[in-house]
């Protein structure tokens, strides 16, 4: 079944990949290892999982504003998500997405996108196959 969700483009672009869903917010500074792309925050639902090349689906960012730079650094090392889909994007993730040129959409019902589904982000649309 193909489902199309329409949100708001934070950074317009096009990318397709497997979804990685987090029910909890993600803090990139201190929460994600910039040299491996692995979530390292203790007790986080994604702890130990690699976000590289995935469509990262999460409610919102959290933590230090240095997180924007960490997103950029992940991208430079080919460890960034292919795209990001959020319920409500805040400035940390928004600026990181633009700096790193990662297609990013928010104001989407993220519960409709389970881990492992194949997702295409295109402009303000999120297409789930």
């Amino acid at each position: 079944m193909r489902v199309v969700l329409t949100g708001r483009a934070i950074k317009a672009g096009h990318a397709s990949a497997m979804a990685l869903f987090s029910p909890e917010p993600i803090g990139f500074y201190g929460g994600v290892d910039p040299d491996s792309g692995i979530v390292v925050e203790r007790g986080h639902p994604l702890e130990g999982q690699c976000i590289a090349g995935k469509v990262l689906v999460f409610p919102r960012g959290k933590g230090s504003t240095v997180g924007s730079y960490i997103i950029y650094r992940l991208k430079r090392r080919n460890l960034a998500p292919a795209a990001m889909v959020l319920a409500e994007c805040e400035p940390i993730v928004a600026l990181g997405a633009i700096m790193a040129e990662i297609p990013t959409v928010d104001k989407v019902r993220i519960e409709a996108i389970p881990t492992g589904s194949f997702v295409t982000v295109c402009g303000e649309e999120v297409i789930i196959e």
Binding site: Y69, I70, Y72, C89, E90, A94, L95, I98, M99
Partner: protein
Amino acid sequence: MATELALTEEERAMLAGAEGPGVRRALEMVVALARIYGARRLVPIASAQVSGVSYANIGEAGLEFLEQWARDGARARVSAYLNPAGMDLESWAEMGLPEGFARQQLAVVEAYRRLGVQLSLTCAPYFSAPPSLGQHLAWAESSAVCYANSLLGARTNREGGPGALAAAIVGRTGCYGLHLEENRLPTELYLVRAQLKTGADWGALGAIVGRAARGVPWLAFGPGALPARLEQVQEGLRLFGAAAAALGSVALFHAEGLTAEASAGLVKAPAAAPKPIESLDEAYSLLDGQTERLDLVALGCPHASLGQLRAVAEFMAGRRARVRTWVATSRQVAEEAQRLGLAGKLQEAGIRLVRDTCVVVSPLELLGIRAVATDSAKAAFYLRSQQGVQVRFGSTERCLEASIRGRWQ
């Protein structure tokens, strides 16, 4: 969508890349923030003040991004001032900082220079270039934001570091929050009855109001609360704002007959029930610690004014610091102090005039500093919470006494 952001023709062209990839990225950032905060338009800014300078804070990732942005041709198109770095750019070796850190820190500053940001390296750019009433700004450092909004009546939100730089590159920011008149009206009323004798007392008051405030505070003062000299009141309001911004999230306050919009009659006391402040004890017990042994006496947070430097030099006349003692200030104020002979007097007293940096952002751990005395409520708060050092908080005179005696008493 609730509100639509309207862009001008020039702005749409910038987004389409007419001025290159660096400018396009900057406007994308400004527009994304404007949309998140529900702005209907962008507003031209008179200046920007950019934070995120200390290498200890932004790290390798931040340095990489700034260098790339400069290579992409991004340049500030309005006056842009840089916040303090993690060290004095010239005398970092005398401060005791390792060369590895210094090299990375200098690379960050060089990247900002290439981006067209003035290397003012101060949290108090308003001493040399004060914005005027009603001007829109994109400033980042919390005490500078509070000063510009409250004492000068300029209009700025508290921007993040990259957001302020993006605003400088496009000369605009989103018109939301404190750029709009309706969000600048006072919403809560504090009646200060405690007597404000020293700068530290003003900081303590800022800590109390900052922690209590949920909106825009209005300060009224009981009889005898204010010091006699207007200069002391202005300096006090500056220290009050720095503490209220650090311990709470106050970006604007008004004080009856004293701050810019209140004395111009643009805002009036709110109808709210007054909250009396009878004593500052609560703030002193929060900020002052236990240690008698000190590794550092740190003055000048926010960066010291010329008047403060003069007061320190006068107090120290004929006496000498036994504890390492720093007074942080901006390069411009330091040059002025040099010209007036104050810098020489401080040096004679064993006090180092530190430029370009402050204790809040310098890597104290690398310097082996574990116990600090300060006259700044803001510094006291961050030194404990961010730097994890032991803290004594008291008046400038009390800090200098401790420095002369070699321990806090």
